[in-house]
Amino acid sequence: MNETKIITNNVNVYYGEKQALHNVSMNMQANEVTALIGPSGCGKSTFIRCLNRMNDVIDTCKVEGTITIDGYDIYSKETSVEKLRERVGMVFQKPNPFPKSIYENVAYGPKIHGIANNKNELDEIVENSLKQAAIFDEVKDRLHEPGTALSGGQQQRLCIARAISVNPDIILMDEPCSALDPIATARIEELMEELKKDYTIVIVTHSMQQAARVSTKTGFFHMGNLVEVDKTEVIFSNPSNKKTQDYITGRFG
């Protein structure tokens, strides 16, 4: 087992009066893919958005409990969300490239964080990020064409390139393949296999097969509770909780 990267302890999340997460405690290991599954509205997206504090944008959202990354409490007063998000990248459900060129899309993060000192360094970062996201060969001749003109799967890989351009430790993926066809999905899954060598990946997915294929560990959420978390093969062959079994076998009422 790899070293533990993220530890959440008794995390409660409220949207106004409504409680969205109940006492979620879970560990995520470095250089592994951790999958979060569960029916819609079960809190898995809410949970993943706590890990880079994307929930801060919502005024009514309140997070209790502690979440630590490498032992550092990300909800402490000293934490800067901008720095946090530099280290914890995110890829979204719908591919959302900026309506700018492919190059601009990837160069944006390094630019605002001042990572590159000159144009050459920036070019290098863009190229490496695109290569790591396994899209460089497809776009190298049209780096200055709009990113929105790419196909859905390419857009999503561009978004992954954008996420890794600022050299994060962790990549969060919120249903990254739900808008993609099976081939594009397979490409992303193959890519995750590569990426987990360098990054810790947490993925929310609606496709149980996908969770089974890509992850080392799977957590099942239901009604804001983390029902069960275990090795992926256990979850999908012999889960210990009845709810988990009913959900993964398609019996959920």
């Binding site: 901008e82 979204f92 900026f98 309506p99 993060g109 605002i112 964080h113 709009p146 929105t148 600022v166």
Partner: protein, 426 residues
């Protein structure tokens, strides 16, 4: 199952209902189109003649003023202005009809010319200093009545008492026609001159400049304030009772009748702050108040239409909220908000009521050169001329409407072009 069932009553009914609906729609559209067409033809047919004016050439001998016609080349404009050539001009004009000797009848000759004929001659001298001969052919503007007669707007077959032109003047006109001495040319001064009591001399230059300065003031005031307010309200303001209250009031403000803004301008800008009456500055400030909510609402709508995923994308790579908004959201929303701004400004351009209240309805002869000079504006000029009795102002009113419509169409086209060209394609 049969797909060919012509005897299906229900289907027949549904189909004929659809047909009738289409007919009503087309009728409504034709009706609306007919109105627009009627409006445009009526304005165009009355207004187009204002774009040319009637001129009468006369021969003027300057020998009695200066000994040598070449000496004009050495004179400054002021010196030419100081020349007294009124009686000389009159004499030369009388020469047009040498048979007329009676003093009263001679005066009738003068009346077929614009009363500013002396200035026109001086202007000719100023413009052609180098090429003045002993005898010069100068085109003088015909009086409003001759102008309208020539354009066919005055009937001749009514009793003399009810005509503005006497029988004698009519005979002068006929004689000039025979001698081929009535000519028309493009009415360039119409666009450059200020207002005048004489229709043949009145122009929309003042109104154009007034409108221009007003719009500049509106742009300077409402665009930055409107954009900043909209960006703050849409992207940064917390969702609470107070911001709800502000939002409701901005929407209400957009629905306030424009004359109320005029009262506000009158009460606060003129009376409390003592700003200069009848000026483009005050008009612009007043119209800004009216345009502001339009711009805020349009900009907010444009910002709201930007998919939230773009903000998330920027935030997720560690951008601050301001960076996310300024780098990504605002550029995408810009075409939409500029379109809104242009439409707001077009509204301001056509607005009359508030300007009447802050005194921009005054009769201003001079073309304003700064926003703090008294001035008119295009819609107010229309209002003023529409009230004038002279037949010459009727065509001028329509021509001004054409100008205003033209400007509005250009603005709206610009809005469309901006939207087409810069809109983000997803």
């Amino acid at each position: 199952m049969s797909f060919v069932n012509l005897n299906d009553n229900n289907l027949q009914k549904r189909l004929s209902r659809e047909f009738r609906f289409k007919v009503y729609c087309i009728m409504a559209m034709t009706f609306a189109l007919g109105f627009v067409l009627f409006l445009f033809t009526s304005i165009f047919s009355t207004g187009y003649s204002a774009f040319y004016k009637t001129m009468i050439p006369i021969e003027i001998s300057l020998s009695s003023v200066v000994s040598d016609s070449n000496s004009f080349a050495l004179m400054t404009n002021e010196e030419i202005n100081d020349l007294s050539i009124y009686s000389l001009s009159k004499k030369n004009i009388y020469n047009l009809f040498p048979n007329i000797t009676d003093r009263k009848e001679k005066k009738e000759i003068l009346k077929i010319f614009s009363y500013e004929f002396e200035d026109e001659i001086k202007n000719f001298l100023k413009d052609n200093k180098e090429n003045i001969n002993d005898i010069n052919i100068i085109y003088l503007t015909a009086s409003d009545d001759i102008d309208q007669l020539h354009k066919g707007n005055f009937p001749r077959d009514i009793p003399e008492k009810r005509r503005r032109l006497s029988d004698l003047q009519l005979s002068f006109y006929d004689e000039l026609i025979l001698e081929n001495k009535i000519e028309t040319e493009f009415n360039f001064p119409f666009f450059t001159r200020g207002d005048s009591r004489e229709p043949e001399l009145a122009g929309i230059g003042g109104a154009l400049a007034g409108s221009f300065f007003t719009i500049i003031v509106v742009l300077i005031l409402s665009l930055p304030f409107g954009l900043l307010a909209a960006i703050y309200l849409q992207e940064f303001a917390p969702q609470n009772k107070f911001t709800d209250f502000i939002e409701i009031n901005i929407n209400n403000l957009a629905a306030v009748p424009s004359i109320v803004f005029g009262l506000l301008g009158l009460g606060i800008l003129l009376n409390t702050f003592g700003m200069p009456r009848s000026t483009a500055l005050v008009g612009g400030v007043t119209l800004s108040l009216m345009t502001l909510p339009t711009i805020i609402i349009a900009t907010r709508a444009a910002l709201r239409a930007v998919p939230p995923s773009i903000r998330e994308a920027a935030l997720a790579v560690g951008a601050t909220r301001m960076q996310a908004v300024m780098h990504h959201v605002v550029p995408v929303a810009m075409p939409g908000s500029l379109t809104g701004a242009i439409i707001g400004i077009a509204q301001a351009l056509g607005e009359t009521a508030p300007l009447l209240l802050i005194g921009m309805v005054a009769f201003v002869v001079d073309v304003p050169s700064t926003p703090v000079d008294p001035s008119a504006s295009l819609p107010v000029q229309i209002y003023l001329w529409a009230e004038s009795a002279e037949r010459g102002f009727v065509e001028k009113t329509s021509a001004t409407i054409m100008m205003l419509l033209g400007l509005l169409i250009i603005l709206n086209l610009t809005a469309v072009i901006i939207r087409r060209k810069f809109e983000t394609k997803w």
